[in-house]
């Protein structure tokens, strides 16, 4: 039975660009400095200061626009967005308004409900970040830190193309992956280099017009994206079903209570009085500049996934995991280039390598060549899979050569059929009754015999070989 209600969601993301200096001044953008130490007349909004635009930030913004398939406009205009707030030093933010850097792009992503969706990107523009207001440091006062004031941002405005909170989360994760891939941002919601606000409205199934929407803010993690939107959607549906109507307002998400509440009104809805920034001439992009940004773009995630499926015969799911980040994808390919069989390489990367990386700040500690070697040792029967996992751990922690480490740990399997035959003979000899039962049909006893052989060999017997020998001897 189709749902009675349809949810319409559009996301606005603000992404901090990875530059050394700020958007309009030469202050450092490094995270974590003591408050108000990365400031200058420009980002402090001192009388007489003027903005000087960062060329690298412009380049990264153009790359983002190209990766999203946007139309990049050769001429765009900076504009002032005027409002008062303690961490907005000039009383206006330099942004872009009716002539933005880029428009009309697409983000293709896999919806958990509807398959591949091509969500529209309405616009992408450049702007500067505000400082930080901290409300709980001083009693009855707010602390303001302007280190972040002026950091370059791009704002990416998505169209009302998402149809569920889960879809919104998937869109956001795909966007994060894309921007990380092209290296223009860390996209870390914890550190605030990726922020999202959501526009939400509901309508009865079958309606085509869009109803009044609310804006949901204060969403601080990917998990909260889904929760916040679910809560707001449910609130709107309940409201309309009980005869009320949705008012256009800003809702703040409270993650502790998992609720949304209206932002206390700022008396009147914002009139930002946008006008072209008189301190900045137009932003003109030459075709050469745009071409240069295009050439700096790496293979994008979707293309890489397709290529991995085709070249390495990986399943779509495995390809997705292994291409989740550029670092992992590059690592995987290096392991394969070092001689590992692609499927085995994928398994090892997806399990051992990623698990280890999780505990070590995403570092892939085992060199690709070493992992390839390890995989070969398992394939050749020299190491059991279990033993190889142990060796992996050692190489990750201390480095070194897998074979040498395996030998020093005494993990090298015995693949000598004579030696293995010896153990098998001993085991079968010691368990005559079980041999009898096996021959009478209790074939499940094979596991028991195998276990005994492994015990007798102190784990060193190649289990596959042992099993073959057992089968041979028991058959006779």
């Amino acid at each position: 039975m189709p749902p009675a209600w349809e949810t319409i969601i559009g996301l606005e993301t603000h992404v901090q660009l990875r530059t050394k200096s700020k958007m309009f001044c030469g202050c450092s953008t490094a995270f974590g400095a003591p408050p108000n130490t990365q400031v200058c007349p420009v980002c402090l909004g001192l009388p007489g200061a003027l903005p000087a635009p960062n060329g690298a930030a412009i380049g990264l913004a153009v790359r983002g626009a190209l990766a999203l398939g946007c139309t990049v406009h050769p001429k765009s205009i900076f504009a002032r967005k005027n409002y008062f707030y303690p961490d907005l030093p000039k009383g206006y933010q330099i942004s872009q308004f009716d002539q933005p850097l880029a428009t009309s792009g697409t983000l293709s992503f896999l919806s958990p409900e509807r398959g591949i969706i091509n969500a529209g990107v309405v616009r992408l523009h450049l702007e500067e970040d505000a400082g930080k207001s901290i409300h709980d440091r001083f009693a009855k006062a707010t602390a303001v830190d302007l280190n972040r004031s002026g950091v370059p941002l791009i704002e990416i405005v998505g169209g009302p193309d998402l149809r569920s909170p889960a879809e919104a989360r998937a869109y956001l994760l795909t966007l994060k992956q894309l921007l990380e891939y092209i290296g223009i941002s860390d996209c870390d919601m914890e550190k605030g280099s990726l922020r999202v606000d959501a526009n939400v409205s509901v309508r009865r199934a079958g309606e085509t017009a869009l109803n009044t929407r609310t804006e949901v803010k204060n969403i601080n993690s990917f998990a909260f994206v889904e929760k916040a939107l679910t809560v707001e959607r449910d609130r709107q549906i309940a409201l309309v079903e009980s005869g009320g109507s949705v008012t256009q307002q800003t809702m703040l998400y409270d993650s502790r209570e998992n609720t949304v509440r209206p932002q206390r009104s700022k008396e009147e809805s914002h009139d930002y009085r946008y006008f072209p920034e008189p301190d900045l001439p137009p932003l003109v992009l030459t075709p050469e500049f745009v071409a240069e940004q295009q050439s700096e773009l790496p293979e994008l995630p979707a293309q890489k996934r397709e290529r991995f499926v085709a070249s390495y015969a990986l399943s779509r799911e495995h390809a997705a995991v292994v291409t989740n980040s550029r670092a992992v994808a590059d690592y995987y390919e290096n392991v394969v280039r070092a001689g590992a069989e692609p499927q085995a390489a994928a398994n090892w990367v997806m399990t051992e390598a990623l698990a280890d990386a999780k505990d070590y700040q995403d570092q892939l500690r085992v060199a690709p060549g070493a992992l390839a070697q390890l995989i070969a040792l398992v394939k050749g029967g020299t190491l059991s899979h279990q033993a190889a996992k142990k060796v992996f751990g050692e190489v990750a922690a201390k480095g070194g050569d897998p074979r040498t480490i395996a030998e020093s740990l005494g993990l090298i399997q015995v693949g000598d059929s004579n030696v293995v035959s010896g153990w098998v003979t001993d085991v079968l000899g010691a368990h005559a009754p079980e041999v009898g039962r096996y021959k009478n049909g209790e074939t499940k006893l094979m596991a028991f015999f195998l276990g005994q052989v492994m015990r007798a060999s102190k784990g060193k017997a190649d289990p596959k070989l042992a099993q073959r020998v057992l089968e041979e001897k028991l058959a006779s």
Binding site: G26, S28, V39, A52, P86, I134, K266
Partner: protein
Amino acid sequence: MSVSREEALRIAQLAELDVDDEALPELAEQMSRIIDYVAQLSAVPANGTVKAFVPGPDAIRFRADEVNPAPLAFGPAEFAPAFKEGFFVVPKLDQFE
């Protein structure tokens, strides 16, 4: 009067300027006087093809992405009206979030 008292008050609030009730009527009058005066611009027929003229360079120059901030002879602690533990201090945001 082209600018009513209510409108004058609304504009004053947008501009975060205190206007007491006594001063409001005169302010609305003065604003009206000025707005009426500049409104003669609308006597000229609108021509959508005329582009805005802005003096100065035709395009921005791109600054290199280097850390070299404009120097401050002394830091915020010296010129801030209220500064504590490295932060600017303002009264609590009662009506903001």
